[in-house]
Structures are given as C-alpha cells and as structure tokens.
C-alpha cells in the first residue's frame, strides 16, 4: 500500500524539467535525484519526502526519451505518479524500470498540494484521504501486467530469449 502526501503538478510536465539535459551525463540515479524538478523549483529535491506521491495533469513526461527521468523520480523516492495521461515513451520507461504510474481521468481536479493519498497498487484504487473521495486507475493491458509480474522488461525479454537468467 502506498500512502503519502501529494505533490501537485500541471499539464505537459516534460522530461527536461524532471531532469535537465545538463545532468544527463550523471550515471548515478541517487545523484540525479538531487536535481529532480530543479528548473521548476530548486527547493523541490530537499523538501520532497520519500514515499510521497505526484499527482499531475495530462501528458506527464512529454518530450525527451531520457530514461533518467523516471529513474531519478524513483531514486528520489516518488512512490507513484497519478495523472489523466502519460506521454508514451515515459509510460513505457516507467513500466520498464518499475516506477508505479496510474492513469485516472481528471485526477488532477480532485487533489491539492499537501493532501494525503492512499494507493492500492493491486487494485488501482486511489483515495484522497483528505476528502475521502476514491478513484480507480485504468487497468494495465495484460501484456504489461506480464512485464511487471516478471519484474521489468529485462526479465520478461530474457524469458522470451529462453535464458534462465532472472
């Protein structure tokens, strides 16, 4: 069960503001996490509490294919991102690296900065504990469930290759 405070973002949050291009030569996700959302709010990384949740408006993660964007969110301790829609490369990357994401229509309208949220990843049930309103995330296609059940794309594709490796 995921439970934490909400960090609210608007629409079209691009991967450049999640992690700026100038940091894309940093190999360590923990180091990257120190710069997460720096260009929107230089104090974000120091204020963010691991386990908290991002609620954003539509098209979260648009722009660059940089996988370091979901990687640094995960390394910063972002427990989940909920939004009405995600940009497609960010969506794939998040599934592949294991950042929990939840697609829920209009979700940004029902959350304010700092409210408490609980998410049950098994059912996709998202509850605003401050208003007691509940929402259900769109289920993942069965195929993606398999990737997640295998522990990510590397494991899933390895199985397809017939390798015994995890």
């Amino acid at each position: 069960m995921i439970e934490g405070s909400v960090w609210k973002f608007g629409r079209d949050i691009d991967t450049d503001v999640i992690i700026a291009g100038r940091y894309c030569n940093i190999p360590d996700p923990k180091e990257l996490a120190k710069h997460v959302f720096e260009d929107l709010d230089p104090t974000f990384a120091s204020r963010f509490v691991p386990g908290d949740v991002i609620v954003a408006d539509s098209n979260f993660g648009c722009g660059s294919s940089r996988e370091v964007a979901p990687l640094c969110l995960k390394a910063a301790g972002v427990a989940a991102v909920a939004a009405p829609s995600f940009a497609r490369i960010f969506y794939r990357n998040s599934i592949n690296i294991g950042l929990p994401i939840f697609e829920i229509p209009d979700i940004a309208k029902f959350f304010e900065q700092g409210q408490k949220v609980r998410i049950d990843p098994a059912t996709g049930l998202v509850t605003n504990l401050s208003t007691s309103q509940s929402f259900t995330a769109a289920p993942f296609p069965e195929f993606m469930e398999k990737i997640m059940a295998a522990g990510g794309l590397v494991n899933y594709a390895s199985e397809r290759l017939g390798g015994s490796k995890a």
């Binding site: 079209d12 691009d14 503001v17 894309c24 648009c62 940089r66 996988e67 940009a87 990357n93």
Partner: protein
Amino acid sequence: MIGMSMTITEKILAQHAGLEEVVPGQLITAKLDMVLANDVTAPVAVKEFVKFEVDSVFDRSKVALVLDHFTPNKDIASAEQSKQVREFARRHEIEHFYDVGKVGIEHCLLPEQGLTLPGDLIIGADSHTCTYGALGAFATGVGSTDLAAGLATGEAWFRVPESIKFVFHGTKFQPWVSGKDLILYVIGKIGVDGARYQAMEFTGEGISALSMDGRFTMCNMAIEAGAKNGIIAPDEKTFAYLEGRSKRPYTVYTSDPDAKYAQVFEFDVADIPLQVAFPHLPENTKSVQEASGVKIDQVVIGSCTNGRMEDLRMAAQILRGHKVHPHVRTLVFPGTQEIYRQAMHEGLIDTFIEAGVAVSTPTCGPCLGGHMGILAKGERALATTNRNFVGRMGHPESEVYLANPAVAAASAIRGQIAHPEEVV
C-alpha cells in the same frame, strides 16, 4: 478484395510482426531493422544489456551507436559516457559506430548513410527517432531499457497506434515557408498531446512538393505533438534521395485508400504563414508577424530538426552580404560532416563567417542545454531546434523561440524576431 484496408503504419507493423493484418490497439511483438542509441542513452542501455547475459547483439549490422549529444566531450562525465559506448561498440564489433570526426547528428546522419530505408521498423533511444518516417519507415523513440531488449533480442513490443491523417492541399506556399512551418502550424492546432500514442501521416500535394529535408523536419517533430511516429509515403523524391545511399533492398508501403483514420485534418498550404513557437511549449505558435520585435541574444541554426543542406542554404541566402546584429551570438551547426563539406563547397561557410556567425562541428550541443551555446539567466534565443521547454537551452529563466532557418537568419541580422522580407 482480400484482407482489410490498412494504413502505411499498420502495414509495416503487421509485416514485422509476421501477421497478415493488425488493428489499432493491438499489442504485437515485431522484428527490428535498426536499433539506435547515442552517448546519453546508450550507457544506460549497455548497463541493462549486460543483464541479458547474451554473448552478442542480435545483429551487429543493425545497430547504430552515434556519439552526438555531448561531443566533442564537454566534460569528464561526458567523456566517460562516450568511452563506455566506444568500448561496447568495439567489443561487439558494431558496424555503424560514429565517433568524433565521422559523427553527425544522428537523425541527419542515419538517412544520409542509407541506414534507414522505406518499410523499415526502427527504434532509437532518442525521442526524435520518428524523423525516419519521412522515408516511409516506421520509426519511434524508446527508452534505454527498451533499447537494451532490442539490442539483445532484435524485437520490441508495440501497441498498434491509431493514425491521424494530415492532408496538405495546394503547392502555393507563402514565401520562405518550409516543412518547419507546416509542422509547427499542426502542433499549434492540435497541441503537444494532440497525437499522443498515435501515428501522424502527412499527405497531399503540399507534402509531395516538399523536399526530403523538409519532410525530415516534419516527421522529426511528430513527437512534439506526442505522436508515436510521423510518416510520409515514399515517392519519386524519396527514391531519388535513396539513390546511391541504400545498400540493401527495401519495401515501399502506402496506405490503402479506404484505410481507417482516427481523425483527418485538411489544410491549404497557402493559408500557413511563417511560424514562431513561443516559450515554453512547441504548441505556443504564432505567425512571425505577431512575434516581430521580440529582442534576442542568440540564434541557433542546426539540430536534427533543421541541420540539413536546405536549411543551411536558406540561412545563407538571407545572411549573404549582411552582418549579424552585434548583440546576437549566431551559431550554425551543420548536421553531418558531409553536410559541412557540401556547405563549404557551396561557399555557405564563407557566407556565415563573413556575416559574423560561428560554425561548429556537428553536435546536438545547445539544443538540449548540453554545451556550445548555453543561455544565461534572462537571455532569449531564437532556434531552429525542436523544443522550447523551461531550461531547455540553459538557465531556467532563459527563453527559447522556435522557427525555421530563414526566420532565424533574418532575426540574427535584425537583433529581434523578424520576417525574412525585412532583410532581403
């Protein structure tokens, strides 16, 4: 009629999945013809690739590794990244490995070298991989882990996208209007998520009239509308471009006349004026007249969007006999070494230098705020690049405006955003 009607995108995906037909929404696993990564995305992919415990990549002739983002390396961290990719390329005897001296901006380079062909299915760990759709290929950007799986298995999974058709009627373009203006205009109409998860198919007389360079620019920016791919059916111009470049056979696909589209947009090219996208989204488009007078500190001409011969010729045509404004640093980045040399042979480099322009070796450089032209706080650039997000070219309080090379050149001369007719 046998079988169902399909779009060009659906036909390519079906063929590579070994299926007779596919429908939008269907999840498929498809074989890859080319797998691409650069110095920023390949290191992460290499780290994931190792986990597959395979001895080699699926096919060393179907992998391209291009060190173009932070090269010539801007600092030690970037040098380490390049070194990792270089060592991987040597260990796996990657045929299409491009290092400094041979390297060009990946999406200018691969088509030029004949590595991306009509009917191909291509993934690249770079969002602008969609550029190759201009050749009638299905090409899309992925992350590093997807790329690693592609390197190991030669396959990737896809959700078959719905297609949106954009029909450009007529051939009476307004003066100086190019592929850049057409695609900015479309993004301005549909928004940065207007084609999210979907295929953008460009067609009509207006597209037939465009050069290959203009078509690359259009497909390049499909991602800025959230699209999975941009695509243009091959025609005589495509075949002429491929002459002397393609080294393997290719397949030409076209959409069936009764193929199904999620949406159809129709435009007359005569109605499309020169475009400028204001900060901080590519959808914030206005006509150049509406942008006129915005003071600028820097002009960047180049990138995977507009670093090709037509772009440099267009900029040089305007700059010839002029000096750039003393307050505007103007930078030109030819897309590849071949483009650089051709520009030299045509005297364009002389024109640039005489005008007071700095000409660089090919690199992605300032487009993603890497190096070679970073903006200070409060500075403003007009660029022929593809993104104007917050902090994209430097300081979070700097600004990027997007336009075509003619507008960029005219603005460099005037010191403010200007219509080319103001200077020629």
